[in-house]
């Protein structure tokens, strides 16, 4: 029995790093594999995590302290989707540029999001959706609550 227990205690040391991964490693998450993901995307699925080196300190400040609040103020409506949320913004050029800038940074920092930007014809609204695998919608609800509230 002692031997078995010792082996059990030793096993984690051997298998310990079974839990590790980084975005560039295309880590397979325990809670991953969203039903709608294509195989190629699922193969590259990154953890629900931020890439620490994706944004410089200045870019991070711009993203979180300026662009985010600006877009939340501009937001016209929110639609709930099965696997995330879609946000409506005015269709003027300045807003389109803000959305583009935010999306480029968000994509770099949070690779686990599917981001879609849709520009309505006749210079209509800009729609931006944030969706993803299982757990992403809940994540938006908890940590992106300020985006969802009216």
């Amino acid at each position: 029995m002692k031997t078995i227990l010792a082996a059990m205690i030793g096993l984690p040391a051997i298998l310990g790093f079974a839990m590790s991964g980084t975005p560039t490693e295309h880590d397979a998450c325990a809670d991953s594999a969203g039903a709608t993901a294509t195989k190629s995307v699922a193969d590259k699925e990154s953890p629900l995590a931020c890439d620490r080196t994706a944004l410089s300190d200045t870019e991070r400040k711009r993203h979180f302290d300026e662009l985010g609040p600006m877009l939340r103020n501009l937001k016209k409506s929110v639609r709930e989707l099965p696997n995330g949320y879609e946000f409506e913004f005015p269709g003027d050029r300045a807003t389109v540029q803000l959305v583009e800038e935010w999306v480029a940074q968000e994509r770099a920092c949070c690779p686990f999001f599917d981001i879609n930007v849709r520009l309505e014809r006749e210079r209509g609204s800009v729609w931006m959706s944030l969706t993803g695998r299982e757990g992403v919608k809940r994540f938006i609800e908890v940590e992106g609550a300020e985006w969802i509230k009216g």
């Binding site: 059990m8 205690i9 040391a13 051997i14 560039t24 490693e25 880590d27 931020c50």
Partner: protein, 180 residues
């Protein structure tokens, strides 16, 4: 015994998951840390005192790299608090290493910790400690350290509650050095 069998079952599951992950130099480097003594560090705590990893000698430890701007990190905190309550009586210590940068970034840590009622120790990290733990390229990243001071494994990203709990159980289950 039942718990040990469950632990083994969980490990087998996690191994199967990892088998599908592609290898990379970074992953290889972190795997090389498995079973190795956790790199020591000397960092400032929120209250200004100096804390060393070696201060926790003989204790099972969960070291969580995070930042206030990192939303997955913030989402993970309630679960870490839960782990702290659940395994605290078994000796598990949780240490959060904030990777917030600059004076402004660091100034946000104390109000955040107070607002979220984070009960465990928070330290201010730096690039040296990140480098010692293979760069910590993503946040959150959690390392599990046994009572013997050796790294058992790590979990990258939030929402991996099963893996996190397993890591905590592994750390708590390690033998106290010098005891049989």
């Amino acid at each position: 015994m039942k718990e040990a069998v469950l632990l083994l079952g969980g490990l087998a599951m996690l191994t199967a998951i990892e088998a599908s992950a592609a290898a990379s130099p970074s992953a290889a480097a972190r795997r090389a840390l498995a079973g190795m003594p956790a790199p020591d560090f000397t960092l400032k705590a929120l209250d200004g005192r100096t804390v060393r990893l070696s201060d926790f000698k003989g204790k099972p430890l969960l070291v969580n790299f995070w930042a206030t701007w990192c939303r997955p990190c913030r989402a993970e905190i309630p679960f870490l608090v839960e782990l702290s309550k659940k395994y605290g009586s078994s000796g598990l210590e949780i240490v959060g290493i904030s990777m917030d940068e600059g004076e402004k970034g660091r100034a946000q840590v104390a109000p955040f910790v107070k607002q979220r009622n984070v009960p465990y120790l928070i330290l201010f990290g730096d690039e040296a400690v990140a480098a010692a733990y293979d760069g910590v390229p993503i946040l959150p990243q959690t390392f599990f350290i046994g009572r013997d001071g050796k790294i058992l494994g790590s979990v990258s990203g939030a929402s991996k509650t099963a893996a996190m709990e397993l890591g905590a159980q592994q750390a708590v289950a390690t033998a106290v050095p010098g005891r049989r």
